[in-house]
Symmetry: C2
Subunit: 221 residues, 2 copies
C-alpha cells in the first residue's frame, strides 16, 4: 500500500481517498449536536410564531419543518456540496464528521458521485432558500405561501427519486453494512419522502379549493 | 478487435456496444417524422379546442404544448428508458434511430448513464402522464389546472438541471463534435428549459392572484 492510500470503510473497497481521516465522533454525539441545534431553532420559531394570533397550529408546525429542513439543506448539505475533500479534514469538525459517518450508509458521498452532488447542489442552493421562503410566506401570510411550499416539496421529492433511482441502477451496493443501509440510507431519507408528500397533497388541495373559491367570486361579480 | 466489438461514433471512444448497428436514417428524415407527427397532433388539439368557446388562445396554445411534450416524454423518452439495447436494433425503426442520432450530442444515452436513465425514467413515467393531465385539466377547466401545470413544469426544470449538472461534473465531454453538442445537447434541450420556466412563472402568478381573490371573498363573507 502506498503512503497516500489510507484504509477506509467505504464501498467500493478499492476507492482511493488521499489523506482520508476516519470519523472519530460517535453517532450519538453527531445526533445530539444535530438534534439539539434543530430543536433549539424549532423551539424559537414555535415560540415566536405563537405571538401571531392569525397563525394556526398547523401553520406553526409547518414553519418549524421549513426551518429544520432549510437549515439541513443549506448548512449540512451545502457544506457537502462545496467541500469535496471533507473526508480528509483532520480536526473533528461536526459537518465533515456527519458526512464521514453518513458515507457508511451511502459511500457515493465519499466517492463524489455526480448524481449525488447534483441533487445535493440543487437542494442546497435552490431548495434550501425555497424552504426559508416557505417559512417567511406562512409567517407573513403571503398569497404565494402554498405555491412555494408545493414547489419546495416537489423539489425534495424529485431529488429523492433521482437519489434512489441512480443508486438502484448502479447496483444498490454503496453501504458498508445492512445496519447503515437501513439506518442512514433508508430511514434518514424517509423523512424527506413522507413529509414532502403530505405537504404537497395539502398544498394541492388548498390551491385547488382557493381556485374554486376565486371562480365562485368572479361568477358572483 | 474482437468480432463482438463494432466501431461506433460515440464518446468515450473505448465504450463497448455489443451488436451496435449504426443509424441509417438521416436527421432530416427523423425531424420530418417527429415534426409531422407532432404537428398533426397539435393541429388536432388546436381544432378541437377551438370548439370550446370558453378556452382562450393562451389555453389552447398551452394544450398544444402539453400534447407535444407529453407525447415526447411518453413515446420517445419512454422508448429509451425501457429499451436498453436500442443501439443494437437492426431494422431502422424511428425510435431507436432517434436515440442513435441523439447519442452523437450526448453519448451518455448510449452508455446508459444512471443519472440520464433516472431523469428520463421519471420524465417518461411521471412527467409524461402529468403533461396529459395538464392538457385535460385546461380543457375541462379543472380547479387543479395551474397546480398540475406548475408541477409538471417544475419536474421538467429539475430534470434539465440534473441532466446538465451531472454532465458538467463528469467532464462535459459526451459529444462527438461541437456541432452535435450545440444542435442536440444545447438547442434541443433549451425548449424544455425556456417553456417550462415561462409556464411556471405564469402558474405562480395565477395561483397567487387566485389566492388573493379567494381571501378577499372570505373577508367579504
Amino acid at each position: 500500500m502506498s503512503p497516500a492510500v489510507i484504509d477506509h470503510p467505504y464501498v467500493p473497497r478499492d476507492l482511493i481517498l488521499p489523506g482520508f481521516v476516519p470519523c472519530v465522533t460517535s453517532i450519538g454525539r453527531i445526533l445530539a449536536v444535530y438534534g439539539f441545534s434543530s430543536i433549539a431553532g424549532v423551539f424559537l420559531v414555535w415560540i415566536l410564531s405563537g405571538l401571531s394570533p392569525k397563525l394556526t397550529k398547523m401553520d406553526r408546525t409547518l414553519m418549524c419543518w421549513w426551518l429544520f429542513t432549510g437549515l439541513t439543506h443549506m448548512i449540512i448539505e451545502g457544506y457537502f456540496v462545496f467541500s469535496p475533500e471533507f473526508f480528509a479534514k483532520e480536526s473533528p469538525m461536526i459537518l465533515s464528521e456527519i458526512w464521514k459517518e453518513y458515507g457508511k450508509g451511502d459511500s457515493r458521498y465519499v466517492s463524489r458521485d455526480s448524481a449525488v452532488v447534483s441533487v445535493e447542489g440543487i437542494t442546497a442552493v435552490l431548495t434550501g432558500p425555497a424552504s426559508f421562503l416557505s417559512l417567511y410566506a406562512i409567517w407573513t401570510r403571503k398569497p404565494y405561501s402554498y405555491t412555494i411550499q408545493f414547489a419546495a416539496s416537489l423539489a425534495q421529492l424529485y431529488g429523492c427519486l433521482v437519489y434512489f433511482l441512480t443508486s438502484y441502477l448502479d447496483g444498490d451496493n454503496f453501504y458498508t453494512s445492512r445496519y447503515y443501509y437501513w439506518a442512514y440510507y433508508i430511514t434518514a431519507n424517509a423523512f424527506w419522502v413522507v413529509i414532502p408528500t403530505l405537504i404537497s397533497i395539502r398544498c394541492w388541495n388548498k390551491i385547488s379549493s382557493s381556485s374554486i373559491q376565486s371562480n365562485k367570486n368572479k361568477k358572483n361579480i
